[in-house]
Symmetry: D2
Subunit: 355 residues, 4 copies
């Protein structure tokens, strides 16, 4: 079902950009897990809009309300549901959007799919706002993984043509602009500022590492770690590419370069290199799981664009009003961590059945 993910836990996301509330239900969470709501709040803040100069307007972070699944702050085995109420619902007239689809958005495809009944206000269920409940679920999974010694961390790898090639070794959660190489980070911010000044937007790449994984997570064929992660990562709005380990660069390598030799380190079998990104045959090999996702530039730009009036069938210019992130990549960093945490935790529960 389209808004659900997972076989061992199931995360179901509901809500539209301007519905009364957005939220998430997680089924299958083990009982007795203490949730650190303050830690979760800090995690959600990393995704919240208006935190920084390179984002738009200042707004209070979304505070989730937990309506079920916990007793106090401890999971009780029943489905956990958390809501975020939308405070500014349906304040504007969105009827224009219903007629004139924005390029790069789901307006046109949703209009056809749902026979004109989709919730077009603010992008409806397709809005980036729906990554907030994804982060609630992911933030919870991050806490549960942490207890198993598993850490998930991400960074901006690229904004436009600027790439941060420094190795990602630790979380960037404490940084306002999550890069490793601060100099490249400065160039990225300049690039974003320039795009914004020009009424334009820019895309980028987020890189993620999962450390502390046991050998054996992930299942053959369609439930390998790449398939599990691929499915959820492509569910993040704007993601158009996903690659593991050296990814597309592997296409240009020889087998003798790409194969990761097995060796022994501190009495443990490891691979000397990690071109495969910690996954062999869909199964974790104990090395860090590494992947990157490509995000397209924010489709909402200030410049005039061309569209077609769905009622008259005639071409018409379109100007999108309001303020928009000139680049969603910084805010996508925790979203990618959240998605990865959900997929990894689901695989971890699967592994428990195998003994």
């Amino acid at each position: 079902m389209s808004s659900s993910y997972g076989e061992n836990i199931r995360v179901t996301i509901f809500g539209q950009s301007h519905s009364k509330a957005i939220g998430v239900t997680i089924e299958g969470l083990p009982a007795g897990e203490e949730l650190d709501f303050e830690q979760l709040r800090r995690f959600l803040n990393r995704r919240a809009p208006g935190q920084n100069a390179w984002s738009t307007a200042r707004r209070e972070p979304d505070a989730p309300e937990f309506v079920s699944g916990v007793v106090g702050n401890v999971t009780c085995g029943a489905p956990l549901t958390a809501l975020i109420y939308n405070t500014d619902t349906r304040s504007k007239d969105y009827s224009q959007l219903a007629r004139l689809p924005r390029p790069g958005h789901a307006d046109y495809t949703a209009a056809i799919k749902y026979g004109g009944h989709q919730d077009f206000a603010g992008g409806g269920h397709f809005s980036g706002r729906l990554t907030a409940p994804l982060c609630i679920a992911g933030g919870i999974c991050l806490q549960l993984l942490q207890r198993e010694g598993i850490a998930v961390f991400s960074r901006i790898r690229r904004i436009g043509e600027v790439e941060d090639r420094a190795e990602l070794r630790a979380t960037t959660a404490d940084k306002p602009f999550p890069v490793v190489d601060e100099q490249q980070g400065e160039k990225m911010r300049e690039l974003i500022a320039r795009a914004k000044a020009e009424g334009d937007s820019v895309g980028g790449v987020v890189e993620c590492r999962v450390r502390g994984l046991p050998v054996g997570l992930g299942d053959g064929m369609f439930d390998g770690m790449e398939s599990r992660l691929g499915r959820i990562l492509f569910g993040i709005p704007a993601v158009k590419g996903v690659e593991f380990g050296d990814g597309f660069a592997l296409a240009q390598m020889r087998g003798s370069e790409a194969n990761d030799s097995f060796t022994v380190e501190n009495g443990k079998i490891v691979t000397a290199t990690n071109h495969c990104g910690g996954i062999l045959g869909g199964i974790t090999d104990g090395m860090p799981l590494v992947f990157r996702v490509a995000l397209k530039p924010t489709p909402s730009i200030a410049r005039e664009q061309r569209s077609v009036d769905l009622q008259t069938g005639e071409e018409r210019p379109l100007v999108i009003e309001g303020r928009h992130d000139p680049c969603v990549v910084p805010r996508a960093v925790p979203v990618v961590e959240a998605a990865a945490a959900i997929a990894v935790y689901d695989a971890l529960l699967q592994r428990r059945k195998e003994r």
Copy 2:
């Protein structure tokens, strides 16, 4: 479940490289569909080993036996099961493989995951041979899609550093080496021959187009077309990257470049460009669906490699015997089409419920 795919049809693949048989069950196929077994045989032949100079030894193509789900050659509504019997089962001693995992293969991860009980002969369930039943299912879906006016075709986009940039406009099924630009194809074959001569292997990229899709396939969030295709494509052995439309190149673009303007052509709404690969918000927009997958080089190479003896825990050199494809990319072309056809057909059935 790891070896199953699909919500509206369900494709379940079984078998190991050297088990008695490999095969596939497809549940949910509509009744009354006539299957063209001869067309299917030709499709399977494109994947069969030993067809060309750049592949290994000559072998007869695998002929599937249909044991259920059809009356004659017409689907009857019951699950369809087809088998391919393995003729050369367990002829060799594979116990060496159980101890000394091959770099780049699933030997090590499967050994840990299955507590040493995995079928290590020829890679077991992780073998590329399991793409044969995937092609049976995909070949059937290709026929069903064809009746809806939907065509799926692929080509080699890249081998190592050689890229075929010519536009993919039609099937390459009739070509022994499936490229568009024959000159680049010649260079690719040279590259493969060189790698082979050096006891090495090489990776590449397959590009696929799906034409004739209606607007409205694919569902929001985790069942968007990218998620649906991503999950199954990453299930093909050696695939380490998947991108849609301009994919990773979108990360380097501005919104003003990347957005595909809506326009009218022959009274129909289309997009002027197709950077998004025919998918907006996870839903097909009526333009060709375009994606590429990156395949790592064949991990089985003739050169000596380093591994660790799982019994003694000591490093040991490893030499893989037998002949192996120096490049799996040409044979992966129909496999990618098969996977795409399954995912698209499943989405098409989903769409029928929406009216």
Copy 3:
């Protein structure tokens, strides 16, 4: 996943008896369906407690709040979520319940399953209160089925030893005590009053008919109509038996009696009798689908019972305080309709894929 049902729509129920809210998410509802909230309210009222003399205390009916999935009162294709806020949460000290499990309830099994972390207040997720969100989902499906000419109606068939054998031909929704034979209904109410006066409770049977079904709903083997309905009906608290058509009585019949002959009526193929309850091979045959569910007596009774203190491991008498329905059967009537409507609507969407 335990609190979800359905393949084509998916109904997920969340909440505990005393959590902040209880609710339901429905994925997969077609877009553009107008919901009649007033009709839904009337349906929910039939299940609400305190409506009648034979139920307990007067309380306002639960009003659901729709937080997503609709624009106004029209479905928009996104997951629909409705909540009912619990107004009297955690007002009492339930720690006693944690130690001394009530016979016939899930207290003991949940305590072991969830390691003592279950929400024991009011039965938590196992409470009959969770049938309210089931009725929201079912009430919506009833409206959608009605548009297809399908009617679902139920009645009390039995309370204790009193049986209403009159044929069920039309809805009992307008009756305060939903029976066909009012005389038997009077006896049933007397029986309930007597049980109540004795500090006891009594069980019963609900019978349900679904009329207007097309031939062809339901799928072979594990998704036949009996399997689909069986799974959801056994999910209603207190249900311990489900039978279709003549059910257990068929075990005492001969084939020559039990077989329903085919015949022609008004140019349409029908069966002369309906011992099979409108289902052959798991598939609807166009006759009314008929089934009955057995409900055990309310386990909460005023009399002293025997239990074991989970902390000390010693037997202890238990007295359950508060007022409880001496018989849940009348209130179960709309719940059974709701469950049936969900199962039938899910099967109807499945059928659409078959053409």
Copy 4:
């Protein structure tokens, strides 16, 4: 999907009565489990036709061929597939069946559902023959459960009006006619013989007990043990009723009778009675899980029946030729055990994720 069952293992059954083969795939079996093929053969024999005087003609038992999922007789983690080849395929002309549906069979409903393309030979996928692969899967699960100390055993509880009320305490696997009270068994056989002599058939009830279950199997709401078992049991052809514990008799009981008091026995918490059949809130309570299924009489009888010609739309008499079991209940006994074993084993794997 209709022919699949299970969330943690998945059992998929394929084949038609007269297709080349029937079979089953089991995904998710733990690796390293040794299968006793001889024990499995004995189990399958209990279901095989023609074993006894009260069954029809003598035939060799069906021997399954394991084509994948095992190395030798040890599971390897890959999907296990076993086949039984049909030796007498399509030997007769079944076109008559396509026109004149047999009362009580799926002929009519399948003809409409599949637009006349169903495999009508011998009942196709709806044939009782498909319980053979169910028994392969169930027989394997029985062995795995046995290793956990869990035993599943059944008996004929009723044939027509003759009931065996003696308590079921141990397996009846060694008895040619699986009852507890041999005197009642003799009466049952007489009843079957009489029905047969009269060209008729008779129904019955099978009772099953599962012993050795831990507390905590089964999940709330729609995945309680009743729901899990209900779904698979109703998938057995001819089953029209399922009840747990005292089942329908509970409807006639008072709460004070029906509630099972908790008490302590040998230092262990047990219930003094077992009216609930070992399940509270859908979760096993450590007492024997007890249920009964009602089977309708074999619809194939020798007497002339009435049907309608689907081509002409006219009523026509129908005489079914060939020999048929006058009572399927004895052969259903191991089938019920198989279905129960699959459901219980699936719940057991689910429980492992909870710690």
